[in-house]
């Protein structure tokens, strides 16, 4: 092979248009006669709608229509949930526009359609809605009591309870017995705070109902699923809907959804018969686009006194928010397979109780269930190590799967194909300077320095590349996990690759071009990747769960191989050779033992002309393939963080971050680096900065970027990243997913580092995000020898409240946007 695109750090071909603004984001598009929607949203987290007066809004300049939930009741159906985790799962109806009951602040209660976006926005203020406020349920432990119901008509806040027990599954022994026989049992409750995906491009949808087929452009991760769900929800024949995801500016799971905004835009456009666009504001996006995480993790781990783990018990309360979105109930279930992580635990029990609250509904957010699980187990391993007086790395090493033990069937029932935790860890330790930093830590502790040093460790693996379809079926997921591709040879010798995996920032166009360039021996620049339009890419299951390369990429490889097979027959005919004697390499067909040669572009032209093909041969090289893997794949890695804590102010500084990830073979190291960096920042942000905070009434307090703290480059050091490469054995390229790795591993590394810096002062836990206030409070409480050691005493006692400090807060928040005099 002379062509070696795979492994080359090519600059992304999509970046020129993305960076220079030659983009086709949905909101950039304007159709003739297009109208605009603005939404009236409930200011209350829980209320009955008693009356809506739209007369003044209807009379406002430019207004074409005002639609309430009542107006749409007969046609809007209920937004879909594709993952009922149990047969008796409970869920309230989920109308796109609330009819008579709102269950979270930000829910749509009416929409205004007007000639301009400004006119629509003006008229929203004229819609008069009467509400009767109802009591709200916000915290998970409160929700569990059913004292206040998020949906009174449902009779309970409990949606479903899902259990995995290794004794019942035959994958391990009974956890209660295991814990009872342990030398040491550590019991902890950790809180996964609620996060907001905060993708850069707010959601936008444009629907053109003219013509025979309804066309929807939407800022979505899932054009194919969206089309299917619109058809099923609204009773439209699937073939009469075309969905296009044009350039999409980030998603992180936040655009893995079928949204009320999409449905109502379609319904309004269909009623009025004109193109209609809805683009949300940033405030609407933070309030109403689905949130993520939000779990209470009640964990027990047992071990022998020399550090061999005997069993793990996991009992989750998971916050669904007010409704079930597309895969909401399944998010905690994905964690069921990851709490045991890289370890050989003999006994394991997992249970999640999914609860409704009067908050924005939750759903997939980068990692979806796996970051939560990884956080739980990695925090717990550190606390167990502290209890045993053992180095946390040593404890991990005693319990992890050795590289010679692969393939390994875990206590959760997954078969890990490959891995080498020893190699990744050894490399990380060397890059980090572990021993030197431990020495410095000791010196600072002994000296009682104002700034203490902590070392945070996180090892991880994840199941990614969702597929396999059979496994998803066994979990009651509503679809398969295959991916589809088409490779088309154009007569000029260039290639079109059609993929069902639709990119929203990942760099698919570049990575897929590299794969096909190598496979077919076609120059990188002669390959065009088409995606995101159900008309051109007619079949697909879209982009999430780190699946695009390991599933979608393999479909492309399979389709390209079919093209080669077809072209080989043509080449043999052209060279008057027996096909069995024809070989293919670097784009050229040759005949063994001769100097005859035809390149693949020449076969494409010959097929296009079709003047002289073998009898009965179809004049096309184009090929389709659908790939469904037999197993997930299992990237892993070791992440180390050096954290400095200023004990005088509680300020936390990330001084050094090292990660060594094993994602198998690498197609494009530059894209991988970008994924790791972005993932790390999102995971670190959970540990230190981000939190969706609600007040006692259920109103989102962190409703703008003034209060929802997304870090920037100024807040973080340069990361030290490296890789080991243990190829996956379950796909042709030996690749593993990388889209979520950084997010999964970094959160516990950071928090473990913060705790490690102050554990000697008596601190055991600090709620995320580890704000200076919480760290300072934890140090202070520990110093007083009081209730100790939790991040802010009182708050640890009621961890289900999203931000307990908030309850006590006054209203004169600084830095807020005032209503008073402004110059």
């Amino acid at each position: 092979m002379t062509v070696t695109e795979i492994g080359s750090a090519r600059l992304r071909k999509e970046d020129q248009r993305l960076i220079t603004g030659r983009t086709r984001y949905t909101d950039n598009m304007t159709l003739p006669g297009m109208l605009h929607i603005a939404c009236v949203r409930s200011p209350f987290a829980h209320a009955t709608i008693t009356a809506i007066d739209v007369s003044e809004a209807k009379a406002s300049p430019g207004v074409v229509s005002v639609l309430t939930g009542r107006d749409l009741a007969d046609e809007q159906g209920s937004l879909p949930c594709a993952w009922p985790i149990t047969e008796d799962q409970k869920a309230p109806p989920h109308p796109a526009v609330a009819v008579d009951h709102v269950a979270f602040a930000g829910e749509i209660v009416a929409v205004v359609v007007a000639r301009t976006a400004a006119q629509a926005r003006d008229a929203v203020e004229l819609v008069d809605v009467d509400y009767d406020e109802l009591p709200v349920v916000l915290g998970l432990e409160h929700a569990l009591t059913d004292e206040v119901l998020a949906h009174p008509s449902l009779g309970t806040n409990k949606s479903a309870t899902w259990v995995f027990d290794s004794a019942e599954a035959g994958t391990g022994t009974d956890v209660d017995q295991a814990l009872a026989g342990s030398d040491v049992v550590v019991e902890r409750t950790y809180t996964q705070q609620r996060l907001i995906p905060a993708f850069m491009e707010p959601r936008s949808t444009l629907v053109d109902p003219t013509g025979d087929q309804i066309v929807m452009w939407s800022a979505t991760q899932v054009p194919h699923i969206l089309r299917l769900m619109l058809a099923m929800t609204l009773g439209i024949p699937e073939g009469k809907v075309r969905v296009i995801a044009p350039d999409v500016g980030g998603g992180f799971g936040g655009k893995l959804q079928v949204t009320p905004e999409e449905v109502v835009t379609l319904l309004a456009a269909r009623r009025i018969g004109k193109p209609v666009k809805l683009t949300e504001t940033r405030s609407e996006s933070l309030m109403a686009a689905h949130h993520g995480r939000a779990q209470l993790q009640r964990l027990k781990i047992g071990a022998t006194k020399d550090g061999i783990v005997t069993g793990l018990s996991v009992d989750l309360l998971a916050d669904m928010g007010a409704y079930l979105g597309l895969v909401t109930p399944g998010v905690p279930v994905l964690g069921a397979f990851m709490f045991n992580s890289i370890y050989k635990f003999p006994a394991y029990r997992f249970s999640t109780t999914n609860l409704f609250t009067n908050k924005t509904w939750t759903d997939a957010y980068r990692g979806a269930g796996r970051p939560e699980a990884t956080f739980g187990i990695e925090r717990l391993m550190d606390d167990l190590a502290a209890e045993l007086g053992m180095d946390p790395l040593e404890l991990r090493e005693k319990n992890w799967i050795k590289h010679e033990e692969f393939p390994f069937t875990t206590v959760a029932g997954l078969e890990y194909d490959t891995g080498n935790y020893e190699a990744a860890t050894a490399k990380a330790l060397e890059l980090f300077g572990y021993d030197e930093l431990r020495a410095e830590q000791k010196q600072r502790r002994d000296a009682g320095d104002r700034v203490q040093l902590g070392i945070g460790i996180s090892t991880f693996t994840e199941m990614c590349g969702l597929a396999p379809s059979r496994v998803l079926g066994s979990l009651n997921y509503g679809a398969g996990g295959w991916e589809h591709a088409t490779v088309r040879m154009l007569p000029t010798g260039s290639v079109e690759v059609v993929t069902g995996a639709s990119a929203h920032g990942q760099g698919h166009e570049t990575a897929f071009s590299q794969i096909v360039a190598d496979r077919l021996g076609i120059p990188f620049d002669n390959i065009e990747v088409l995606h995101g339009d159900t008309a051109s890419s007619h079949k697909g299951l879209d982009t999430y769960g780190s699946r695009s390369l390991v599933v979608g990429g393999m479909a492309i490889v399979a389709a390209a191989d079919k093209v080669i097979e077809k072209a080989k027959a043509v080449a043999a005919h052209m060279m008057e050779a027996n096909p069995d004697d024809v070989e293919f390499a670097a784009g050229n067909f040759t005949v063994k033992g001769t100097d005859a040669s035809v390149n693949i572009a020449e076969t494409a032209l010959a097929v296009f002309a079709a003047h002289d093909l073998p009898d009965g041969m179809e004049p096309s090289l184009d090929s389709d393939a659908t790939f469904d893997p037999e197993n997930f794949n299992y990237p892993h890695g070791t992440h180390l963080a050096a954290m400095e804590v200023d004990t005088e102010t509680g300020e936390v500084t990330l001084r050094k971050y090292v990660c060594v990830d094993d994602i198998g073979n690498v197609v494009n190291p530059l894209i991988v680096e970008g994924q790791i960096h972005g993932g790390l920042v999102q995971g670190i942000a959970q540990a230190l900065f981000e939190e969706a905070v609600h007040d006692d009434a259920g109103t989102l307090v962190s409703g703008s970027f003034v209060d929802y703290l997304v870090p920037s480059a100024a807040d973080l050091p340069s990361f030290i990243t490296d890789r080991t490469e243990t190829p996956a054995t379950t796909n042709a390229l030996g690749v593993k997913g990388v889209g979520e790795a950084g997010t999964i591993a970094s959160t516990p590394a950071i928090v473990n580092g913060v705790i490690d810096a102050v554990r000697h002062l008596g601190v055991e836990d600090i709620l995320m995000p580890c704000s200076p206030h919480r760290v300072w409070t934890a140090i202070n409480n520990a110093g007083k020898g009081g209730l100790a050691a939790k991040g802010g005493g009182a708050e640890a006692a009621v961890p289900e409240t999203t931000s307990p400090e908030q309850a006590a807060s006054g209203s004169n928040s600084s830095g807020s946007l005032p209503t008073g005099d402004v110059q």
Binding site: T281, T649, D715, P772, L817, P818, G820, V822
Partner: protein
């Protein structure tokens, strides 16, 4: 994020601006950079009918010396103030604080006067201006008056500038040879101050001869802790001594409680940051 409809005026003289402001009555609003006003308009928290942009009035820009004072035009952008040699030399505290305002885009667009008249308790300019004893030159229909810093900041988002008046210039007494420090405590770089402390200090023979201090976001207006300033006189440049002199800096303050910390934590921070600001300003 679309504001309500408004008319836009861009006068080229203070006189014209005052006339337009008078004509607009309650419905007029001065646009002095817009780094806070525009978000407020977009969120529809305010909906003035007329915006009067001072950006085209040349007289309101620039920095000059006037005897014992520096005169800074109200429409001088933060970036210019932060890097002006005269400000660096004679009012280092103003330069230091201006460098911490928001991000580079905001510092090029937002203005010194705009930030002061906005009077956000978490804004970075009021406390340094108060600490340095600035004087505010305010033009109105009846002529020009000068307001001392101690009377300028009235309440949350409220200053002594009347509805029909415009802040034109700020006079900062020269503090040539004084050291200065603005300690701004935030969780992420682009954030309003949780607490910040402005300090400018004159050192003589290894001890503090004079100290002037301002506290940001420790109440509805910036605070100048006179007792601490007095206590610092004659103090040697070691941490324990400065800590002792500044320990009571937050006594009697009523800072806000929010997601970034409660009032007690802010009072604690004010003490720590005052100590650190004074030590840095003193070159210790």
């Amino acid at each position: 994020m679309i504001p309500t409809k408004f008319a836009y005026e861009a006068p080229t003289s203070v006189e014209d601006a005052l006339r337009l402001l008078g004509e607009a009555g309650d419905e007029g609003k001065i646009l002095a950079g817009g780094m806070s006003l525009i978000p407020v308009l977009k969120l529809r928290l305010a909906g003035p009918e007329v915006l009067i942009d001072l950006g085209k009035i040349e007289d309101l820009r620039g920095i000059r010396e006037d005897g014992d004072a520096l005169v800074i035009g109200a429409m001088t952008p933060h970036h210019v103030v932060a890097h002006d040699p005269l400000v660096e030399q004679h009012a280092g505290l103003i330069a230091a604080a201006s460098k911490t305002v928001a991000d580079p885009q905001v510092r090029h667009r937002g203005t010194f006067g705009g930030g002061l008249v906005h009077a956000d308790p978490a804004g970075d300019l009021p406390a340094p201006a108060l600490a340095m004893g600035a004087e505010f030159v305010v033009a109105g229909p009846g002529g020009t008056r000068t307001v001392p810093a101690s009377e300028f900041f009235v309440d949350l988002f409220t200053t002594a500038v009347g509805e029909d008046e415009i802040l034109t210039h700020v006079r900062i007494p020269k503090h040539t040879g004084w050291g200065s420090s603005y300690k701004k405590f935030t969780r992420v770089a682009q954030q309003w101050s949780i607490v910040a402390v402005a300090a400018t200090v004159r050192v003589e023979n290894g001890t503090i001869a004079e100290a002037q201090i301002g506290l940001t976001n420790m109440g509805s207006t910036p605070i100048r802790p006179a007792a601490v300033e007095q206590a610092l006189v004659g103090v040697s440049l070691d941490e324990a001594a400065v800590a002792a002199a500044t320990a009571s800096v937050a006594e009697g303050t009523t800072p806000p409680s929010d997601t970034n910390g409660d009032a007690d934590y802010r009072r604690h921070l004010a003490g720590v940051l005052t100590k650190r600001a004074v030590l840095t300003a003193a070159g210790a």
